[in-house]
């Protein structure tokens, strides 16, 4: 059910895609040279990756989209500056990108609009992570700073003007470049682990906004992965081993690696560059020698190995296989490409559009109904909603007139009844009077007759 996706910094390697259960290689997506943290799966609908610049003279990098069914690049966006790390929230509504100048860009996927761009760090952003519920964005930078952004604050203009700074917390404990960040479950009270080139990993509390634990490793840590139960985390180091560090209990200080480090997984390979944890209790590591290794974290053995490229593996993702993407579509890419042909969203904008324009352009996100439903229909423009509203208003007024008519009719009936009643009364009275007169006459006549 799960797909393993890996990309490399070497352009001819592309993005490899394997079935994690069977180990069968799926489609290989072409021409992708991604930087670390530059690959994202957007809402399980398609793959997006930022690109390393081909030559240093090129002024801007690019972000590419691949649909599941086609190995070729389908959409190419050119942001204003080279973007290295990108991240998408779990629903795939937003893509965040970190620029070389320290800016963070936030795009809406469905429309490609650049919603917001803000200056986040002094130096280049090196990694970006969304929290599990998508309400926080965590960024790490070359200047060793980790910052937590609440999307609510970032987008609420009055909120952001009132506060002296946009970020929720700023952690400046690291002295060198941040290499990786992971966040655990638990919403606002989640635990954040950050790794840096200063050989340390630091555990932070999102709720309290402070350092919980500092772990010094024997070598630089380039990648971390969190155990689902958050008992331990795995740290892939440049010396080729994956260290296991404790997150909860006090570890015995006799450990040969250092404080809080329980053990290590190692097969004496080259530096570990990326890590991922699958729900099937497998740890997946990418190495500088171009191999992807699948470990059993309990027995510390390698279960599988995949070969991606000659160059270093940069990114590993573990995603659930989309249901509508059956295996047949891989074997027959032509038909499926026709079927899914133009379903990818438009490229991402370069600049923030001015405020008066986006009044009309606001998107409305419908809740995802089913996995196999085509996702791209879920975007409806703001205008549709406006029309709906107008219609609703109009419908409401006609109903009111109907009610008015009803009321008038009702009144008419009642008056008619009244008229009838009055008429009847008049007739009765008339009859009574006539009778009276006639009787009187008769009495008078008979009297007279009698007299």
């Amino acid at each position: 059910m799960e797909l393993l996706i890996a990309s490399s910094s070497v352009a001819d390697a592309g993005i490899g895609c394997w079935d994690l259960e069977s180990g069968a290689e799926q489609l290989r997506y072409k021409s992708c040279a991604s930087p670390p943290h530059g690959l994202a799966c957007v809402g399980q609908r398609f793959l997006a990756s930022s690109q390393l610049r081909e030559q240093p003279s090129a002024s801007s990098g690019s972000i590419l989209y691949w649909s599941w069914s086609k190995p070729q690049v389908e959409v190419k966006s050119l942001p204003a500056e080279p973007i290295k790390p990108i991240a998408a929230n779990s629903h795939g509504t937003y893509i965040a990108g970190g620029g070389q100048s320290g800016d963070i860009y936030m795009w809406e996927v469905a429309s490609g609009r650049l919603l917001k761009k803000w200056h986040a760090h002094y130096r280049a952003v090196t990694c970006l992570v969304f929290s599990q519920d998508g309400s926080f964005l965590i960024s790490g930078s070359e200047d060793g700073c980790v910052r937590i952004w609440s999307l609510l604050t970032v987008f609420e203009e009055c909120e952001s003007q009132r506060a002296s700074h946009l970020y929720l917390h700023s952690f400046t404990g690291h002295t060198l470049r941040i290499t990786d960040i992971v966040i655990g479950y638990g919403g606002v009270s989640a635990t954040i682990v950050s790794a840096s080139e200063d050989r340390t990993c630091k555990v932070w509390s999102l709720l309290k906004g402070r350092l919980l634990r500092n772990i010094v490793f024997p070598s630089v840590i380039d990648a971390i992965a969190l155990d689902p139960a958050e008992h331990v985390f795995y740290a892939g180091s440049r010396d080729g081993s994956i260290y296991i560090a404790a997150l909860n209990a006090e570890s015995p200080s006799t450990s040969s690696y250092g404080m809080h480090i329980i053990g290590s997984l190692s097969d004496h390979s080259k530096a570990v560059t990326c890590l991922a944890y699958s729900t099937g209790d497998l740890l997946i590591s990418g190495s500088e020698d171009g191999m992807v290794r699948v470990w059993d974290p309990i027995t510390h053995n390698i279960v599988r190995m995949f070969r991606l490229a000659k160059g270093p593996v940069n990114n590993i993702l573990v995603v659930r296989r989309p249901l509508y993407l059956n295996l047949g579509s891989f074997s027959n890419p032509h038909t499926s490409s026709r079927r899914h042909g133009s379903q990818l969203p438009p490229p991402l904008d370069k600049y923030v559009t001015s405020a008066d324009e986006d009044v009309d352009n606001k998107g409305v996100i419908r809740l995802p109904s089913l996995y196999n439903a085509p996702r791209d229909a879920s975007y409806i423009s703001h205008r549709t909603i406006d029309n709906h509203l107008k219609e609703l208003q109009q419908q409401g007024s006609s109903a009111a007139t109907e009610m008015e008519v009803e009321r008038l009719k009702h009144e008419c009936n009642r008056t008619l009844q009244m008229v009838q009643q009055w008429k009847k009364m008049y007739e009765n009275l008339h009859e009574f009077c006539v009778n009276e007169l006639l009787d009187g006459d008769q009495v008078d006549g008979s009297k007279r007759n009698a007299v």
Partner: protein, 854 residues
């Protein structure tokens, strides 16, 4: 009227007199007079008589007594004596008693405190002071560990009573008492905050006595500061708790809530609000008097400082971390009415306080000139130290003319003070606050007067670092941390980036500097602690263009034998990161590594050998660092292979390495250089033609000198059997084998050269004496043969070597002919030596030829 009355009295008196005179009293003998009607019956009837003991004489054995022999009960009674001296003596006695018998205090503490509290409002000053000392030194420390709530509540009522006493002295003293209570039992402030603040407000309003009784007021204000510092808001407090948390052992532990920390404070906001204007007024009242004085005296300075601190704390409490005096719009989340109040307070502060405050530094400047002449410098420094933390905030707020004045004064202080002093540290922290752009990330522009000063400060930092040397690790650490922060912020858009870049030219002395040719002077870096070194190394990463100048200086540091090897590897790691981020030129980067590998001084295991080779090495550095060097070689290799395109790197490296090899470096370094070549090379070799020839010359040269081979290592034959030794041999030979494997041509050339070298040396005996020649020659033969044997042992090389049968046979033939020659010339000694060799050799060569034929 009065006369007539007096006359009538006189008459009455005369009548009475007359009556007494003539009255005859008759008494009968033997008869007693009856007792008067109001007489008292003095007879005592009792069965036993009990006499209470007198206190002085009483038996007090086993009871706790003071010096004067009084028990606790007696002393307590005496505390309410009407004579103040007795009261004081009683208190002294209590102190004495409790010091001697701490158990006494513990068992009777409630009784004691009930009695003592009555003395808080005592009229006599000396008694109060004694009581204060008693409580401070004995009672509170003694009762510290048990439940203090009821204990404190017993006292507080009396303290409040004293706070409203008519005598000002008593009142001020009461504040002091409360301060003491808070000191030992901090929650008491939150419990009684309302009343205490009210009292403070009252006393500060009555300003007529400020100027007379500054010492008292100072202590009272100090108490206020202590109380207010308990308000939950302090930024610094949060920082310190963060530090504590880092050491926490259990991550998700349940945390106890502190009782009544912030909950109780919501009710006192109004009181605090009222307090601030009073404080400000009070401060203003101080000002004119201070202004007229030629020299600020310590007491009024302390008072003013305390007032300022209090204001700072209160405003900090409202702002919850927002800086003092920031515009009210940012404080407005507390609700509409509070927002208005904040506005008023802001304007109050801005108008009054800041209008007044900037005069202070100028005051201090003038004072500086005075005090310099009057050697009151120590006092002055203390004052300045207290003032410094306020400067960054002031700079943000005040008008520009004041600003430049202020900054000038500050810079003058910063430059003038001693690098080791705490004043410098305070200056540094103030600078950090002003240099690192705050949350809004706005850099100052060049027109700002601040900018000019910032540049000055930045330029002073490296000098300061070098001045500090290695004697003041904590100060150095602060400077290094500041530099690191600066580097982190100094990206290309920041105005400081150029300053930071330029800093590398002045930082070299921090690492090391070349004084004369080959003479290296090491900077303080090497001897600093690990933390500081780490900070310094991390700072290197942020130079956007790390030039060869600084790299050279770092390389010298790395080569220093005193440097711990962990630091060495850390430097390489960080430099590699910097390189991959594009901060170092590739040529500089490679030459850095080449310098490391070719200049690293390896101290081998064998001590005698080491002393032979490096007579200049001190005898205490005898621990071998060969292992370190091996690791270093590996690290460098992996770094170089990570650069990217191997063949390009190889091209760059090839010539450099050959140049180094031709300089004949020590064996270890040569081997390391060869290893680098091998790592970057691939199976069909990338070596150029020219390169192969050079290399072959070198390798055979190595053999000639006898240094590339195991035979160079002394006592070869005995140790050769040891596995460790064999490992070293293999380690040295391995790169050669790889090269041979990849380029058979190289092997051929080397074999040819080996053969010709033997003949050359044997055919040119003229320069040497006969014996010498024989030794040399046999050594060489030995070297060549053992090299051949080693190659032969390695299965892979054996395969290759089998394709060069002629060359090997040629060498063997030469050796054979030499053997014959020796035997013929018949020098007995040499002959013997040669015979043993020949025996050895023939045995070996047979093996070789056998295997070759096979």
């Amino acid at each position: 009227m009065a006369r007539s009355k007096a006359a009538s009295k006189k008459q009455q008196k005369q009548q009475q007199k007359r009556g007494v005179d003539f009255k005859k009293i008759k008494r009968k003998l033997g008869r007693k007079l009856p007792p008067p009607k109001n007489a008292t019956n003095t007879e005592v009837k009792s069965k036993a008589i009990v006499l209470p003991e007198q206190s002085v004489a009483s038996e007090k054995a086993g009871l706790a007594v003071s010096k004067k022999g009084l028990t606790l009960k007696e002393l307590l009674q005496q505390t309410s004596h009407h004579n103040s001296k007795v009261r004081r003596d009683a208190l002294m006695g209590l102190k004495d008693l409790f010091q001697k018998y701490p158990a006494e205090l513990r068992s009777h503490r409630y009784a004691v405190i009930e009695k003592l509290r009555e003395r808080i409002g005592d009229d006599d000053k000396v008694v109060r002071e004694t009581l204060y000392q008693l409580l401070k030194t004995v009672v509170f420390p003694g009762c510290k560990e048990d439940n203090q709530g009821p204990f404190v509540s017993l006292m507080v009522a009396y303290i409040f009573n004293a706070m409203t006493h008519l005598a000002v002295d008593v009142r001020l003293m009461a504040f002091k008492f409360f301060d003491l209570v808070v000191q030992y039992y901090p929650p008491s402030f939150s419990l009684y905050a309302d009343k205490v603040l009210q009292n403070y407000e009252d006393i500060l309003r009555k300003n007529q006595f400020y100027l007379e009784d500054k010492a008292k007021l100072r202590s009272a204000l100090a108490g206020l500061v202590r109380c207010l510092s308990l308000l939950p808001c302090n930024k610094r407090k949060v920082d310190s708790s963060e530090e504590n948390m880092a050491g926490q052992k259990i991550l998700h532990a349940f945390e106890l809530d502190m009782p009544a920390e912030s909950s109780g404070f919501s009710s006192i906001t109004k009181k605090l609000k009222d307090l601030v204007p009073v404080l400000v007024n009070c401060f203003q009242d101080f000002f004119p008097s201070v202004h007229h004085m030629p020299l600020l005296d310590a007491q009024s300075f302390d008072c003013m400082h305390s007032i300022l601190q209090s204001i700072d704390l209160v405003v900090g409490f409202f702002g919850y971390g927002i800086h003092q005096g920031k515009p009210a719009s940012q404080l407005s989340y507390e609700g509409p009415d509070e927002a208005i109040w904040d506005h008023t307070i802001s304007s109050l502060l801005l108008k009054k306080l800041f209008g007044v405050f900037p005069l202070n530094p100028t005051n201090h400047l003038s004072e500086k000139t005075c005090s310099d002449s009057r050697s009151g410098k120590a006092v002055w420094e203390k004052h300045i130290l207290l003032l410094l933390p306020f400067i960054p905030k002031l700079v943000l707020q005040v008008a520009s003319d004041w600003k430049s004045c202020l900054l000038q004064a500050f810079t003058k202080i910063f430059e003038g003070c001693n690098p080791q002093s705490s004043l410098k540290l305070a200056c540094l922290s103030a600078i950090e606050e002003m240099l690192i752009p705050g949350d809004d990330m706005v850099y100052p522009d060049a027109s700002d007067p601040l900018f000019e000063y910032q540049i000055t400060w930045i330029r002073a930092l490296p000098q300061l670092l070098i001045l500090l040397g290695d004697k003041h690790p904590s100060s150095s650490q602060v400077v290094l941390h500041l530099l690191l922060r600066l580097g982190q912020c100094a990206n290309s858009s920041s105005p400081f980036s150029r300053e930071y870049e330029n800093m590398q030219y002045s930082l070299d002395k921090f690492y090391s500097s070349c004084v004369d040719r080959g003479d290296v002077y090491y900077g303080p870096f090497i001897r600093l602690s690990w933390d500081s070194q780490e900070l310094a190394i991390c700072g290197l990463y942020y130079f956007s263009n790390l030039g060869p100048f600084l790299l050279k200086s770092i390389a010298f540091c790395c080569l220093c034998s005193e440097l711990e090897h962990l630091v060495l590897f850390r430097i390489i790691e960080v430099l590699h990161s910097a390189f991959s981020a594009g901060h170092i030129q590739i040529a500089d980067y490679i030459s850095f590594f080449m310098t490391l590998l070719s200049r690293f001084k390896v101290l081998p295991e064998n001590l005698t050998f080491a002393e032979n080779i490096y007579p200049d090495v001190e005898s205490d550095a005898k621990i071998s660092n060969r292992g370190t060097f091996k690791l270093l070689t590996n690290t460098v290799c992996s770094c170089l292979s990570r650069i990217g395109d191997d063949s390009l790197v190889f091209q760059i490296l090839e010539q450099v390495i050959f140049d180094q090899l031709l300089l004949k470096p020590p064996l270890d370094n040569a081997c390391a250089l060869l290893r680098v070549l091998v790592v970057l090379d691939c199976k069909p070799t990338r070596l150029s033609e020219q390169g192969i020839i050079t290399l072959s010359k070198y390798l055979s040269g190595c053999l000639n000198v006898g240094s590339c081979e195991p035979s160079c290592i002394p006592e070869d034959d005995e140790e050769n059997s040891l596995p460790t030794h064999q490992q070293t041999c293999c380690y040295y030979m391995l790169p050669c084998f790889f090269l041979f494997d990849r380029s058979p041509k190289l092997l051929k050339l080397v074999l040819n050269l080996m053969g010709s070298l033997i003949t050359e040396s044997s055919s040119s005996p003229s320069s040497h004496s006969y014996t010498q020649y024989g030794n040399d020659n046999s050594n060489q033969i030995n070297a060549v043969v053992s090299a051949l044997l080693l190659m032969h042992k390695d299965t892979k090389v054996r395969k290759i070597i089998s394709s060069f049968k002629e060359e090997v046979v040629h060498i063997l033939q030469i050796i054979h002919s030499l053997q014959v020659k020796f035997l013929v010339t018949g020098n007995p000694e040499n002959g013997l030596a040669v015979i043993t060799y020949t025996y050895d050799l023939s045995g070996r060569s047979q093996v070789t030829s056998f295997s070759l034929s096979g």
